[in-house]
Symmetry: C2
Subunit: 251 residues, 2 copies
């Protein structure tokens, strides 16, 4: 066990606030460093003075600001980590001996409040000490830690965009079609929950249903005629083709 | 309350079996009529002799066979209903005075076993008696009944394809990218569950995150370079454009 009591969080956005709230509940001593608007001690000075006051520094600022913020932090022994899925490890200034990534693979945006234990944390570190500290913290909080290197994390981010961002856009397109017909989107929710709940047991390909995989051209033509929005139609066609090509290959 | 005790299920596929299993649990008397392979009484004769023996006839055969099966059923007073999302009410033979649709908006395919109470049943009927009977049955089983006319049901089916079938295909594409990088797809599941769990509270558009809606061209270019599969790349580009166009309009 590595001694870990004092944690410094830099940034007061949704991720910073989420971590602050949840780490505090577990009796860690949390210090938050933010940019001030007023005339008080400047952000840069506060970062410089962190040296020796903390066991871990977690940078929760925007991706673009991570590199600069890390250079302003005073050099001490505490690991300096960021929480970004899209930012490589080498963006952290190498003046710090211990550097790492503690990336929560979950939306922590305002309005969301996932239980901490449901979050997979993706870990990367320059050294074993930092990796052990991050693992210890993740497990102490009841969450699951995965070692994921920078190349893998890039793929993970791409996969999250494909699977989550794009699905959400499909929900939006379905919502629009349903709203025009006076249908409550809530009707679809149980089906979508069922679909996601089953993931992980099987390859998603095994769970593919619908007219595309059944080659039900009759239903496909009906749907194509029903769709008034050009973008939705284009997406309908390209997804249908992709399903048919992929599932042809596998049969 | 309409007297309803004896229910006849025609068809022994996954939907027929699911309904048979669950209705039996609720102490309805279930008779199942199936096509025989052997030399016993023919399917057609069994359908003709149903007259007067049952309170409700539920056709659970393939969409293409519904119309024909309904013509073979002996005319009695029992409502004749089908369970298909894609088949209009008028496919049921109008020699039956009471006709309806009892469409469970859930995958009941083999390997799935959703709790009955989680299923939204979409109801349509030629007459008030049939509608009341289907509502009564749905509620007695603890599920939720929605009145949905044939035009709306078509839209619902289209929306289910957009939201569920196509999302599942995106999961497949994400799975393939992750597998190449040695990543466990399980890692993404909490994020996807979170995403679907939040639906219904807000318009899905309000929950759109990711590089497309943020106009983060840097990340988008990185992703485009990472994708080796041509179909996945085409889908990436068209979804990104569609998100940007739609969210431009709304800003």
């Amino acid at each position: 066990m590595i001694a870990l009591q004092n944690i410094t969080i830099i940034g007061n956005g949704s991720v910073g606030q989420y971590l602050q709230r949840n780490l505090s509940l577990h009796n860690y001593d949390i210090k938050v460093v933010t940019r001030d608007r007023g005339p008080s001690k400047s952000f840069q000075e506060k970062l410089a003075s962190l040296k020796g006051t903390t066991d871990l520094i977690v940078i929760c600022v925007s991706d673009q600001a991570i590199a600069e913020v890390s250079t302003f932090i005073g050099v001490g022994n505490a690991p300096v980590v960021h929480v970004s899925g899209a930012t490589p490890l080498h963006h952290l200034s190498d003046k710090h001996a211990h550097r790492g990534i503690w990336y929560p693979l979950m939306s922590l945006a305002a309005g969301t409040n996932p239980t901490f234990t449901s979050i997979p944390f993706c870990l990367e570190a320059t050294d074993e000490f930092t990796m052990q500290l991050l693992k210890q913290l993740t497990r102490a909080m009841g969450a699951t830690a995965y070692e994921v290197d920078s190349e893998q994390r890039k793929v993970l981010h791409l996969a999250a965009v494909l699977a989550q961002n794009f699905s959400n856009h499909l929900y939006e397109l379905a919502y629009l079609e349903m709203a025009k017909a006076g249908l409550d989107f809530e009707l679809l929710k149980p089906l979508l929950l069922q679909s996601v709940s089953r993931l992980g047991k099987d390859h998603p390909a095994k769970m593919q249903t619908g007219p595309a995989v059944r080659k039900d051209q009759n239903t496909i033509h009906q749907h194509q005629k029903m769709i008034s929005n050009q973008d939705t139609l284009e997406i309908y066609n390209i997804m249908t083709q992709s399903i048919q090509k992929r599932h042809d290959k596998e049969l």
